[in-house]
Amino acid sequence: MIEIENVRKSFGPLEVLKGINLNVPKGEVLTVIGGSGSGKSTLLTCINGLEPIDSGKIVVDGVEVHARGSDLNKLRQKIGIVFQQWNAFPHLTVIENVMLAQQKVLKRSKAEAEAEAEKQLKHVGLGDKLKVYPSRLSGGQQQRMAIARALAMSPDYMLFDEVTSALDPQLVGEVLDTLRMLASEGMTMICVTHEMKFAREVSDRVAFFHKGVMAEIAPPDELFGAPKTPELQQFLSATH
């Protein structure tokens, strides 16, 4: 379970998170929507401790992420994250990309790491690309590789930070299909996304962020069907 309690975060004079409260139980698929600069991506990087927070707390499975002495490297094995772009390590082949952290962090043997990498890459449909370098992959394939790489660490949670935003439109579908597959397998996921149709389809709940505040959170039918705040109404009419 991810518990987010009154989290505030500023970059210089700009407050990007203004007291966020949110709980994500195991097995939930939560999507986060909102305009640029609404703080939704920042929240993800705070959850796995890549960004410090100014106040409040984030607790993952009972461990406070930003407390002194928390073992962030250990915590991050539980929380996979995939970013918008530049995820692939260009100097390693696809399978080596997926093996590296398994070997260095989980101390798996080469054979174990290789078997797990192959399994995960097949799972995301890259079974025929094991030995190629990421530069030979399309953007969508690179994102699927990044997802496989995170999954190979056997995480309990997956965070997706606008993973389709940098892709050509025709490649978005394959990545979303991979996310749908994960959701149907019961993975706990937080997806920051601009894909409204996808959000509507896969989410248990959808959160709408506006200017650093979580303005609304509800099951998708409710949130999209009957938006309460004028900000969300405006946002939805602008994106349709």
């Binding site: 990087t45 530049w86 260095k104 370098y133």
Partner: protein, 221 residues
């Protein structure tokens, strides 16, 4: 107008000795590069470590290495340290002097290369649970060395040419030293130095060409 008789045969008789000198020159250049690369990586780590004192030491090193003559640097290793009672042989002085210079230039190359690597590489590595050193060693450093591979080749060529500065510390077994000694004996100045120049040229060409082949093999991505 010219009153100089070329005697190539006489000079060419000394070729075996000069080639032996060339081997010493290559040995010094290679060792100085190995030391230089290791030190440059350490300097780079110091500079990005976030510790001000470490970063200041590294920056000072780079500034001195890049903004003073290599000849002074070699001279200081030999005679400068000598003033403090640290007496190094000409070979070691030349080796360390060139290594000092290499490290400074290479560290600056590495800094430029780091700028070309997006932050998200480190972020991705850290988000997979890798520690900061692991992320540097396994993700950032290989890319850094690849980007700076050609500048490193240039530095290797420089290292070869810089061995001739061993003259100031009375180095006499490298290519320049051997040539110079032969010249003192035979006065076939033009021939000897022309041959030495050709040997230098061939060595540096071989280095640049093999570096290119190596790069094509190593960097397939």
């Amino acid at each position: 107008m010219f009153n100089y008789n070329f005697r190539w045969n006489q000079a060419l008789n000394s070729l075996p000795q000069m080639l032996e000198g060339a081997l010493v020159t290559m040995e010094i250049a290679i060792l100085s590069m190995v030391i230089g690369i290791i030190v440059a990586i350490l300097l780079t780590v110091c500079r990005i470590s976030g510790y001000r004192s470490l970063s200041a030491i590294a920056t000072t090193w780079v500034e001195i290495a890049r903004n003073t003559p290599a000849l002074f640097q070699i001279y200081m290793v030999h005679f400068g340290l000598g003033s403090f009672g640290i007496h190094l042989s000409p070979y070691i002085s030349l080796l360390l002097g060139i290594a000092f210079n290499n490290a400074g230039y290479l560290a600056e190359n590495y800094r430029g290369a780091l700028k070309a690597i997006p932050d998200t590489q480190t972020r991705s590595a850290r988000s997979l649970g890798m520690s900061a050193p692991q992320a540097f060693v396994h993700v950032v450093m290989p890319q850094m060395l690849r980007i700076s591979f050609l500048p490193m080749t240039n530095q290797m060529v420089w290292a070869i040419l810089m061995t001739s500065l061993g003259a100031v510390v009375a180095m006499n077994t490298d290519l320049y030293g051997v040539t110079s000694a032969l010249n003192a004996l035979t006065f076939r100045t033009f021939e000897l130095f022309a041959i030495a120049a050709v040997i230098f040229y061939v060595i540096t060409k071989v280095i640049t060409l093999s570096a290119r082949l190596l790069a094509a093999r190593m960097f397939r991505y």
